[in-house]
Symmetry: C3
Subunit: 204 residues, 3 copies
């Protein structure tokens, strides 16, 4: 139940981030809906396609599609107030990437994939919804150049595999990893932490 | 036989629309061919990938690839006359989205998916060839902001499920839905009907 | 062993081309890594998704991911010297498309696909890593408008099927086709050969 609520909150936060980007591009309501949809489920969809888990996860029941349609209607109606909730949304988003990363890692394990591939799938689940959102809006994906976003996901995945190797309890490792991702992402936001600059000293 | 002819006409119309966009971007003949190809079969390909129907539909015989290559050669040779047939092409295109939507809905039903997912797959089949075409040309997809294009597909899908629930004959429901999509799309083109503007009243 | 070395060299060349494009866009190290990764394995990934060969090839062992991560670290550290090796990289790249095309053709044959589809899959394997790289960088794919790149792949695939029909030995046909692609690509680079211009004579 707890994970279900977290999953819903993460989906809502991702969908709202899609609505905000799509409205900035002045898309019509169909465009806004599609961008919100791919932002919320695009990462998990790409993960499912890469491992061959089809029909992809959101096709199996009405949960995701209802939540996203509801979120879009609500977000479009109250668009002018959304910016007041910017911090709340970023907080949900951080919770979202924490949970989605570990959902992706779990799915990789269920397909007997190597740890590195599980971590890659976790990162894809958490980050590639935003990548597809940005591509559909003809922008270079924000995750490739702004403050760290994918890095906490990768690190969280590594921590999970270290913890279960030690060996810690799986549920414990799972929770710690999610918490780690959320905290690092929030710290990165608060202090504007980006990856080390690779363009200094006339590197090019 | 009738559906086969319609399918061919729709594929040709979609391929030509790809040629027109690609030539506007001054792509070479290979680029034009690829853009025409993804415009014509991209929607159905994405549908097949999402539900796991692989190898995807156009790989099974020579029909689609021959028609598209033929269309591209013809369209490039007679490019300067193509604009005279703009209305004819838009007419074929409207027929194409009507038929392709219902092909997608049928395929969803064959995979035992929920009605909403069938409608989503129908819309993907009809509209996402154009989305991929625009992404490959580094443009924001036209379907997200111009006059209505996806909306008739969604409505047509809904009408189909209402009709078969009443219950009407499946073939009747199928034909009515296709006709509905074509007529609404043509009316939207003629009168420049777009979705309700969500940006009025200082909404943002 | 010989093919393995060629495969590695091709992967490195593709990854470096990704690093160069990503660094031009000033992406951070995560962005550079992802672009290098999709450039190197994107074509084969799309091929595997289209035919339903999942989990996709690079998920099965550590070979590709290790080589790409190593290449990216190396390429970023020595970025300012990379341009001195431009010709070497283009040479590796030509070897890469030659081999990757035939890897794709082989995979199509293993799935009992028609010759034309095998050639299409070979071309996708060789060229679509670069297409995805350019889309992620919000550019129109270079392969659609620069000097010939996909054409040698298509011709090489056709030559392969002609040779095995005559019938020549499969290994002989395989090697000749790879060699043909490499040579034609290198000649195209040296003499700036592009596809025939379809925009002359007021064609539009």
């Amino acid at each position: 139940m707890f994970y279900f609520v977290i999953d819903i909150l993460g989906t809502i936060a991702f969908a709202v981030s899609g609505v905000l980007v799509a409205m900035e591009k002045k898309l019509d309501i169909f465009g806004v809906l599609i961008i919100a949809f791919v932002t919320a489920v695009g990462g998990g969809t790409l993960r499912d396609i890469l491992i061959g888990s089809t029909p992809v996860f959101w096709m199996r029941d009405y949960t995701y599609i209802s939540i996203i349609i509801g979120t879009v209607i609500f977000a479009v109606l109250f668009a002018k107030y959304l910016h007041n909730f910017r911090m709340t949304l970023l907080f949900f988003d951080a919770i979202g990437i924490g949970l989605f990363t570990m959902v992706g890692v779990e799915k990789g394990l269920a397909y007997d994939l190597l740890p590195v591939m599980c971590i890659a799938l976790g990162t894809v689940t958490a980050c590639f919804g935003g990548v597809i959102r940005d591509i559909l809006c003809a922008e270079i994906p924000a995750v490739f150049s702004k403050e760290i976003y994918a890095t906490p996901c990768i690190l969280g995945g590594i921590i999970y595999f270290i913890l279960i190797l030690l060996p810690f309890d799986v549920t414990f490792a799972y929770s710690i990893s999610i918490l780690f991702i959320i905290v690092v992402r929030l710290l990165a936001l608060k202090f504007g932490i980006a990856l080390p600059d690779i363009y200094r000293e006339g590197n090019r």
